[in-house]
Amino acid sequence: MPSPASRSPPLLLLVPFLLLLLFSAASAWKKDEFRNCNQTPFCKRARGRKAHSVPSLSTADISISDGAVVARLLPSQPLRQATDGDDPESDTVPPRPLLLRISVYQGGVLRLHIDEDASAPRRRFQVPDVLLPDLDDRRLWLSRLSSPAAGSSSFYLAEGFEAVLVHDPFQIQVRRKGSGEPVLSFNSHGLFDFEQLRAKKNDDEDWEERFRGHTDTRPHGPQSISFDISFHGADFVYGIPEHASTSLALRPTSGPGVEFSEPYRLFNLDVFEYLDDSPFGLYGSIPFMLSHGARSSSGFFWLNAAEMQIDVLGPGWDDPAAPAKDRIDTVWMSEAGVVDAFFFVGHEPKDVLRQYTGITGTPAMPQEFAVAYHQCRWNYRDEEDVAAVDAGFDEHDIPYDVLWLDIEHTDGKRYFTWDRVLFPNPQEMQGKLAAKGRHMVTIVDPHIKRDDSFYIHKEASERGYYVKDASGKDFDGWCWPGSSSYLDVLNPEIREWWAEKFSFENYVGSTPSLYIWNDMNEPSVFNGPEISMPRDAIHFGDVEHRELHNAYGYYFHMATSNGLLKRGNGKDRPFVLSRAFFAGSQRYGAVWTGDNTADWDHLRASVPMILTLGLTGMTFSGADVGGFFGNPEPELLVRWYQLGAYYPFFRAHAHQDTKRREPWLFGERNTALIREAVHVRYSLLPYYYTLFREASVSGIPVMRPLWLEFPADKETYNNGEAFMVGPSLLVQGIYEERQKSVSVYLPAGQSWYNLRNGVSYAGGVSHKLEVSEDSIPTFQRAGTIIPRKDRFRRSSTQMVNDPYTLVIALNGSFAAEGELYVDDGKTYDFEQGAYIHRRFIFADLKLTSVNIHPANLGGKFPSDCVIERIVLLGLPSGAKKAVIEPGNREANVELGPLTLRGGSSPDAITVRKPNVHIADDWTLRIL
């Protein structure tokens, strides 16, 4: 946008001061605008408690009912006097019994549910529509309680695992059967506390809360829940996004040697210029934590959408003299809701991920174009700009698949509209991109401009579809359009209505190649407390905003995604990027790490952040390549492309104040480097797409921490600098300016091939490697096969018929395996079996393509694609030719380049033009 100095004489003097004022206000993260634990009464209360200081509860009336264990929780007898002075309610209110219910699901999942009984003045909120609808079908019917010892009951959980309910004080433990070795325990430190709903008294100072001029009326008083969870056999805990961190494992927030740390906060917030390393909560919340140690992996998930604070307690927190070994204790605190918690007891970390995604869903299978490269900026200004950027990619032979339009494309930030001057012909514009196989994404946010001439607002206000404020009026907050209201997406009816807005008839100017971006859905409210919605705002069913806050963005994302599904008559896979997320968001689309900054530390933090998202189900995630705020030096931008090319979601984005940074704007050399980085991603698209398929089936993320693949290798447990892409690729980021060398740890068990030059490196060792500007270190694990497509096109859609390259990295016994999944990249026909799924197995000098498409599924995906090249790493020289069956055809074997890049030397054993079809069974024997 042109930058006017001012518009009228009085403003001439006023503007500079305002701008300066804004600059100083904008220069850094505003810590004061957000609450810390001490300013958050429930957190302060819970954090002030010491182990076993809470009046304990005991179980009564334990029984099996409807296949589940049920009991009542009562104060332990005799009723102990509160030892804790700052727990006023425990002295004054006689507690009602709490209802406890424990159920067990297939695959080693225990669910614990604790709520008030029917005499409570109000029903507490239980988060709907997150758990998979078929979960109940997978519940195991418990029939028997055992009594392994006096005062406890035990029951079956899974093969080799049982659960134990200790009666007094009440405690739950999941443990290995036989050895009795604990895996997870609940309330073993007696920190369980459940603030029951009660009537207000005159002198109750806890009732209202004030923060920076905002008053929270808290009409139902304090109602928080807190408890302790211990992970046994754990070296580290991970998960509970979203926080910016340069550490993959969660650092202790409390305990000996930890000073002044805040707990990890889970509260979806729009944070301006967030820090690169802080337990502060960002845009999304997934209250799921995993633990891993040499002996055990486990997980814990609390389905609760209110503000949550989680302390990871350092060893010795309870007794500095005797720090616990092999155990990590955590304290979970939430402002409202109920206990609806899940315990996962997997043997291996991948089991825990399967268990978690088994209840919240696996990631949706994306369209293939969405796995390719996205070009975004706030803002591509007008149709000319769009055309010029599109042409720039062609001119520089850099592929891209999606061009994005940020808020400025709308008519006055009224979503679903177009600025008529800047975008007079949106359909034609999309058509031009689509003619090159490219797609467009426009932004649609949840705040609706309060403008009676805007049809969305008119309908929404007439139908009462907005969230209400504490007084019952439509909540009116400030966001991009100015005065705005927010759709109450908790209500399924409103979500249906919203979904209809995406039909081609309703969204004027949209075409089938247009997809959607949901931003600001934390929700962001510029004049609200902590830049969000007041907690006492009212949703559908008299639910307070505090109770569902962290899931608001989730419901909005869900509604939008369903809108795109409807638009395509259920045939076209939606693509919706969301900034806010909650447990289960993986079913509705991709997320990104929000407004990061163009500096090296944010580049570094992107890896632990995305890995954490992957571990908690959100595998389709990425960070803004280049950094949103600020101007990256060309070197940083290049390094970011080189790393970002491996993010599951690969998008460049920039703030409107930054200099333009399309890939070709930094001189020929940098253009070539960025082109190369983008080409790497495009050549690996078949591998990525195969990994997305795996994720959509098993929940195992595309981008993985090393320990997920090497759970026994302790060296990998807290490595947040390197990561695996699938089982076969290891990528080490370069996070420092002008770095000359880097130490790369390659996990034990096999050797590794440098993907640049084919050189092999031993595993289980840290290698000091020279770093060049043209790539970041990447290795293929010995024993794996990676499918690639080495021909580049304008976009992924033109690569459909291009031939494949297989890169086979042999292990010590000259064997390797890999998979390839192919479907139409667009529809749900794969659900009917319209896909190709092959396993390539190399052993005894013979490569075999095995069909792993289940025969009973039926369906078929036709493809004429062939494999044009097979590269063998680690094969002793001497191979002369290859013989292909069926047909007894011969193919030449010679030395060729490992990659088709200028300057690569022809030193890899290459099978030339085997031209075997990917859809067929065949074998290829090396002679």
Partner: protein, 634 residues
């Protein structure tokens, strides 16, 4: 795949023959190879151009990449780094990326890049060629006409340059003579003043005695509290007398010091009171004027002052607008205070808070918006802040005060000298005024004029009788007036000289083809903005009453095909603004397009005959006759 490829190749070859009888049949051996490259592929064993490998003729275009640089696959998509040549008979040949071969999109107008049968590309070369040729012809015509205009322009520039040089040398000789005269007058004047000074002292002494006596008389008469009203209570005559004396004193002092005197009458008149005000003001003007511009002196002070103050304000505004805290201590501390105030957002209305937070992302003024009442309210508050700031002395003067003084001064001004005396950076179309201003000096500037004034001066000098006491007031005034007049003429000439020097130091192109641009500005209106580009001076973006500097003249670039303006107003959170003006051959000087492709980096296109170069016509004509050559600028 191979077989399929061969079949589709044949089909597409047949298609090509059918479409364009003149097209030669591309065989596998020549597919995608430029004619001048064909010989490279003649031998049976061919080297990869990067030297990495050799390949056989069978491996040429066999859909398998042997050379990473693409040598062996000019006609297929097998090598990512390959290039594909389409002959495009009827139009211009095109070399494109191998990634475009058989990707389902028609890239070559002859369709030769899509031969696998997945998509059929009609041959559009003739049509496209025709359009291109017509366009080219138009362009040639433009160039031909443009060259003529350019020649005229160059001729005009030559004359103008010669004229300016001649004027400069004449002015220099006039300056020399005038300097001598002024020096003589000055000496004379000083002598007169010395005499007057002696007289004055004498008179003062008498008056002092007189006053003393009067005061003693008053003291005995009046009550003490009335003494504070003395001055206002005094009789008008006395006041006037007093002022006359003071004024005279001041007047003379300043005249000596500053060579600056506005009084033109031969008698010290009542309006000396005004004169004093003016004079006092001049003292400050003189200081600021000298600070701002060493070359400015004499009668132009007041204007320098005016401009200086305006600029100072502009600077303050633009600085505040653009500088970060820390560059201006006072300002930043002020802002820091503001920042603290804004930190406690509790005082803000909901809407103000919303705007404030939004503005972090948007860099937009938080006060901006539909709510004018609110805006006005904020505006008021901040106006007050700024005024306070002014009183603290950051901005040299407030607007109102300044205006008042201006008006006063203008009355006393040499009207014809008007608004001329500005910095080169301050004006963009002032030279025409200059020419008329100087017409009396230069156009009629024959030697007789100089002779005449020399004569006049001599007369004046001789007429004065130094030995008369008291000093003949009328004669003294004549000397003063002549001194004032001539020193004013001198300064006019000097300033004109410096302006000419300033102009002539610029690089106006190989043939001085841009000479006429010195006095010109080009404007283009885009939406709400008007863009003004004044070569050798500055470029700005104007919206209503406000103007944003896009840059000051930097230089020509790319051998006079680009004009660069740099160091414009700072962008908030961004770089200094800059403008790159790309020049194109056109019949008129016209700013045809302006854009901001990157934040605060503007790009404009200016069409001008100055770029219509004769040698370019040859090139264009070569292209027109169908020579396969690069098709730049088509």
């Amino acid at each position: 795949m191979g077989a399929c490829l061969r079949i589709s190749l044949t089909i597409s070859c047949l298609l090509l023959i059918w479409i364009s009888a003149s097209a030669s049949i591309p065989s596998r051996e020549s597919l995608g190879i430029a004619p001048q490259d064909l010989s490279y592929y003649k031998s049976d064993v061919i080297k990869c151009k990067d030297g990495s490998k050799k390949f056989t003729k069978e491996q040429l275009n066999d859909e398998f990449c042997d050379c990473p640089d693409g040598t062996d696959e000019p006609g297929t998509s097998a090598c990512p780094q390959g290039k594909f040549y389409c002959p495009n008979v009827g139009h211009i040949p095109l070399t494109t990326f191998s990634s475009r071969v058989n990707d389902g999109i028609c890239d070559c107008c002859d369709g030769s890049d899509e031969y696998n049968g997945n998509v059929s590309c009609p041959n559009t070369c003739w049509e496209a060629g025709k359009v291109a040729r017509e366009k080219l012809q138009k362009k040639i015509a433009t160039f031909q006409n443009g060259v003529t205009i350019r020649k005229q322009e160059v001729e005009k520039a030559k004359q103008a340059f010669a004229k300016d040089e001649a004027e400069l040398s004449k002015l220099r000789s006039e300056e020399k003579i005038l300097k001598e005269l002024v020096q003589k007058l000055k000496e004379q004047k000083e002598r007169i003043e010395k005499a007057e000074e002696e007289e004055r002292k004498k008179r003062e002494e008498e008056e002092r005695r007189l006053k003393e006596a009067e005061r003693k008389a008053n003291e005995s008469k009046n009550a003490p509290e009335e003494s504070s009203h003395d001055i206002t209570d005094q009789a008008p005559e006395k006041l006037s007398e007093l002022h006359n004396q003071d004024a005279m004193e001041d007047h003379h002092d300043s005249a000596v010091e500053d060579k600056n005197d506005y009084t033109t009458g031969t008698e010290i008149s009542d309006n000396q009171v005004v004169g004093k005000v003016a004079n006092d003001h001049d003292d400050t003007i003189a200081k600021s004027g000298h600070e701002a511009d060493g070359r400015s002196d004499g009668s132009s002070f007041s204007h320098v002052e005016k401009q200086h103050v305006v600029e100072a304000q502009d600077n303050a505004v633009s600085k505040a607008n653009t500088d970060y805290p820390g560059t201006e201590e006072e300002l930043s501390s002020h802002v820091a205070e503001q920042g603290q105030v804004s930190d406690s957002t509790e005082g803000l209305s909901r809407e103000e808070l919303g705007r404030l937070v939004a503005s972090r992302w948007t860099r937009e003024n938080a006060a901006e918006g539909n709510d004018e009442v609110n805006m006005a309210k904020e505006g008021l508050e901040h106006d007050e802040d700024i005024r306070e700031e002014n009183h603290d002395g950051y901005i040299s003067d407030s607007d109102e005060d300044h205006k008042f003084e201006d008006d006063d001064l203008e009355d006393d001004q040499d009207a014809e000298f008007g608004e001329d005396h500005e910095e080169p950076t301050g004006a963009y179309s002032s030279d025409e005024d200059d020419k008329t201003d100087y017409s009396d000096l230069t156009v009629s500037g024959s030697s007789s004029w100089l002779d005449k004034i020399q004569q006049t001066v001599n007369n004046v000098l001789q007429a004065f009788n130094f030995f008369r006491r008291p000093v003949n007031i009328s004669e003294a005034a004549t000397v003063r007036k002549e001194y004032d007049d001539f020193s004013s003429e001198l300064s006019k000439i000097q300033s004109r000289i410096s302006r000419l020097n300033e102009k002539l130091k610029y690089d106006f192109g190989k043939d001085r083809e841009f000479y006429s641009f010195y006095d010109r500005c080009f404007e283009s209106k885009q939406n709400k903005y008007t863009y003004k580009v004044c070569p050798f001076k500055k470029a700005s973006q104007v919206e209503g009453h406000s103007s944003t500097q896009l840059g000051h003249w930097d230089k020509f670039d790319e051998s006079y095909r680009v004009m660069l303006f740099s160091n414009g107003d700072r962008c908030w959170n961004g770089p200094d603004r800059s403008l790159k003006v790309r020049l194109r051959c056109g019949l008129k000087n016209e700013l045809v397009d302006i854009d901001e492709p990157s934040r605060c980096e503007y790009v404009a296109i200016l069409s001008t005959p100055a770029l219509c170069l004769e040698e370019k016509i040859k090139k264009l004509e070569d292209m027109n006759t169908g020579q396969p050559s690069a098709h730049d600028e088509l």
